[in-house]
């Protein structure tokens, strides 16, 4: 089978569809045809993958649900912390990152949950679920450190205190006049992160009575399973190894 120049254009179109996270092949005939072609023609599939790779994107999965793309390291498509939430302080960036991981752990509490097919919908989660998980881990870390002396002021200044202390010292909630979650509280930060993930096609918000829950989408499940979980694990392991070598 020969691939023509217009075919390369179509391959690029499929990558473009993958970036439009709210589009579904079942509702877009052009998208659906390209997905079918991707699944049926090995050469076209290879072209799409290479084209995406050249742009700094990784094709994680293609199915009737659409194209799931992931950003390669240093990709122009990788969202920066400021794209995610308008924060400037290092502490806020850290909290956002911890919340992102907390959300993923709440969706996939066990390693085997990641192993399951991405089409199997995970149970919905709430802001409080994520808060409970992170707060619980912080309290556990706190209890484990009880016998040790408190961090010094210089450790605090140099950012050498443990990350859990940053989360733990933040209040989960605070009273506001209008009954909304107060800015800067952990519940509000989690809510903002989940809402942003909804905009990025990773979650769908369902409001039932007074509480909202968030349903992870196929795209988010693919992202975690095929890219993020392993990337985070490798990065953490590397940091642990560096720390051990530093100690030695």
């Amino acid at each position: 089978m020969i691939l023509t120049v217009p075919d390369v254009g179509l391959a690029a179109q499929l990558v473009g569809w993958g970036l439009r996270v709210n589009k579904r092949p079942a509702l877009e005939p052009g998208y659906r045809d390209l997905v079918r072609r991707y699944l049926e023609e090995p050469l076209f599939r290879e072209t799409v993958r290479e084209l995406a790779r050249g742009l700094g994107l990784i094709v994680l999965d293609v199915s009737e649900h659409g194209v799931a793309l992931g950003p390669a390291e240093g990709s122009v498509f990788a969202l920066r912390p400021s794209d995610f939430r308008k924060v400037e302080r290092a502490e806020e960036r850290l909290l956002d990152g911890l919340v992102q991981l907390g959300i993923a752990v709440t969706v996939f509490p066990r390693a085997r949950d990641l192993d399951e097919e991405a089409t199997l919908a995970r149970p919905p989660i709430s802001v409080q679920d994520v808060e409970d998980l992170l707060r619980g881990l912080c309290m556990r870390a706190h209890d484990a450190q009880k016998e040790k002396p408190d961090p010094t002021a210089s450790e605090e200044e140099q950012g050498m205190i443990e990350a859990w202390r940053i989360f733990k010292r933040r209040q989960p909630t605070a009273d506001t006049k209008d009954g909304r979650r107060a800015p800067g509280t952990t519940l509000r930060i989690i809510e903002e992160n989940l809402d942003r993930l909804c905009e990025l096609g990773c979650f769908v918000r369902n409001q039932r009575s007074d509480t909202a829950n968030y349903q992870a989408t196929w795209r988010y499940q693919v992202l975690c399973r095929e890219l993020a979980a392993s990337a985070a694990f490798v990065r953490v392991r590397r940091a642990q190894k560096n720390a051990q070598e530093g100690d030695a």
């Binding site: 970036l19 996270v21 579904r24 092949p25 509702l27 699944l39 090995p42 599939r45 994107l57 293609v62 199915s63 649900h65 799931a68 992931g70 950003p71 990709s75 990788a78 969202l79 995610f84 290092a90 960036r93 850290l94 990152g97 911890l98 992102q100 991981l101 959300i103 993923a104 996939f108 066990r110 390693a111 990641l114 991405a118 199997l120 919908a121 149970p123 881990l137 870390a141 140099q158 950012g159 990350a163 989360f167 993930l197 990025l200 990773c202 196929w218 795209r219 988010y220 992202l223 399973r225 993020a228 979980a229 392993s230 990337a231 985070a232 694990f233 953490v236 940091a239 642990q240 720390a243």
Partner: protein
């Protein structure tokens, strides 16, 4: 004679799969009092039937569809117990049923049931069987739909002798059931589902081969992959058989139908789709035949490379907990690096010159009249604002200034105005008029009528005003008064 034939284990495992359903029936007495009269087992059978009927079709069953479908049965049960059907109670019962069938109480993890087995020596061994009945699945268009697990399909369709976890058997059972009921369209939808399964299998095998080419040690070529390849071959052969059955039945039906019959066109469509399915299976077969040689080639090529293989991590224990224990600065750098992977890519926001120019050149938006009712404005006469000085005061000052026959000092004029009115308004108007004449506006001044006003180099303080003393001469007056020339 064998003490514990393996068929017994097989049958027992099937029975174990029914326990969550029978538990529903047994535990109904523990439900809320208003729900106890419902027969949960009958309702569960209806839910399973509803889901299996719709599987693989474009319109699948979701939670709301279950509630709708159970409505008539729940109403009948209500009436049998002398109760008035009530929507809220129906919803509560449907939710309770789904919660139990999905194992919501245990975070929708699979059901885990322990049972006793006997090994070849006759020793009792405790084993654990794990399965789901109803699963939440992402729908390709939108939302979440309910599907039966392979185990539930086989259980429900009465396949007690089958390997209960066999996905292929489950798919075939659905197609067979639909064909038996004369539901050709549904059978084709299921065939499409099976084709999709084929495509995914093809993709999976493709992925394994790519992974093998990258690092042969990261693929289990001892057990898992050969098993997958065997399954794939079996899948292809079975699919060809099933599709052949559908094809023959459809062609027979088409032969006996008049050309212009309503069902003729859908049947032709069915034949076309099934033929496409068969073509795809032949491609998969070709891929399968080449798969093993890829492994052998790569094993030879990568014989001396050393790489490690690893399964997916446990995010909580292996990532989040170590991260929380790290120094904040290190943890911050890590989360900045990995967060983009959790949120997916985003197209960078860039200025589109084309878009901007297009926006700027777009024609003016047409105003659609008549859509918004507007009230006619109340017209008022312009320039009738309340004045600080009355007409009488203006007339009095005019008379004072016009009445000047000889030069006079400003302080004298102010004192005169104060004594005439008794208020500060008249002196203020005099002061303003004098200032206006001191620096007249060319457009407003009347030639020949303006006073001649000159500073005399002295200071005055009179009638609440103070400043440089001025001499005011009427237009015809020849001389200017000086300080001291008057009292």
């Amino acid at each position: 004679m064998e003490r514990w034939p393996k068929e017994l284990r097989q049958r027992m495992r099937v029975v174990l799969h029914t326990l969550p359903i029978t538990d529903l029936h047994r535990n109904q007495g523990m439900a809320q009092p208003e729900l106890r009269h419902y027969d949960a087992l009958a309702l569960a059978m209806k839910v399973l039937d509803l889901i299996v009927e719709s599987m693989g079709m474009e319109q699948e069953v979701d939670r709301r569809a279950v509630v709708r479908a159970l409505g008539p049965l729940l109403s009948a049960m209500d009436m049998a117990h002398g109760l008035i059907p009530e929507e809220g109670r129906h919803l509560a019962m449907a939710e309770r049923l789904l919660d139990n069938l999905r194992n919501d109480g245990n975070h929708r993890h699979p059901f885990q049931i322990e049972y006793t087995d006997f090994d070849e020596a006759g020793v009792a061994v405790q084993r654990l069987v794990e399965f789901r009945l109803i699963e939440d699945r992402h729908h390709p268009i939108e939302g979440i739909v309910l599907r039966l697990s392979n185990e539930a399909i086989n259980l429900f369709l009465g396949a007690f002798e089958l390997d209960i976890e066999d996905a292929q058997a489950a798919a075939e059972a659905v197609v067979r059931s639909q064909l038996d009921r004369g539901k050709f369209h549904e059978a084709v939808q299921s065939a499409r589902g099976a084709l999709l399964q084929t495509l995914r299998m093809q993709e999976k095998i493709d992925g394994i081969l790519k992974q093998t080419r990258r690092d042969v040690t990261r693929v289990d070529w001892r057990e898992a992959t050969p098993r997958l390849l065997d399954e794939a071959v079996e899948h292809v052969l079975r699919r060809v058989g099933v599709e052949q059955g559908i094809l023959e039945t459809a062609q027979e039906r088409l032969k006996v139908l008049p050309t212009d019959h309503d069902q003729a066109t859908p049947l032709r469509h069915i034949i076309e789709i099934i033929q496409r399915c068969r073509l795809r299976h032949m491609e998969l077969q070709d891929q399968l035949m080449r798969a093993r040689s890829v492994f052998l080639d790569e094993q030879e090529r990568q014989a001396f490379s050393v790489l490690s293989a690893r399964a997916l991590p446990e995010l909580g224990r292996e990532v989040l907990e170590p991260l929380l224990a790290m120094p904040a600065r290190t943890a911050e750098q890590i989360v900045i690096d990995v967060s983009p992977a959790f949120s997916g890519p985003g197209a960078p926001a860039l200025l589109s010159l084309r878009g901007l120019i297009g926006w700027q050149l777009q024609p003016r938006r047409e105003i659609v009249r008549g859509e918004i009712l507007t009230d006619a404005p109340d017209l008022v006469t312009y320039g009738e604002d309340e004045a600080r000085f009355s007409k009488e005061e203006h007339a009095e000052v005019d008379a004072m200034l016009d009445g000047l026959s000889e030069p006079v000092l400003l302080s004298e004029l102010l004192a005169q105005a104060a004594s005439r009115s008794g208020t500060s308004a008249l002196p203020a108007l005099v002061a303003l008029r004098v200032l206006q004449d001191f620096a007249p506006d060319e457009e407003l001044s009347t030639p020949g009528k303006a006073l001649r006003i000159d500073p005399i180099g002295a200071w005055f303080d009179a009638a609440g005003f103070c400043g440089d003393e001025l001499s005011l001469c009427p237009p015809a007056s020849p001389s200017t008064p000086t300080e001291g020339s008057r009292p």
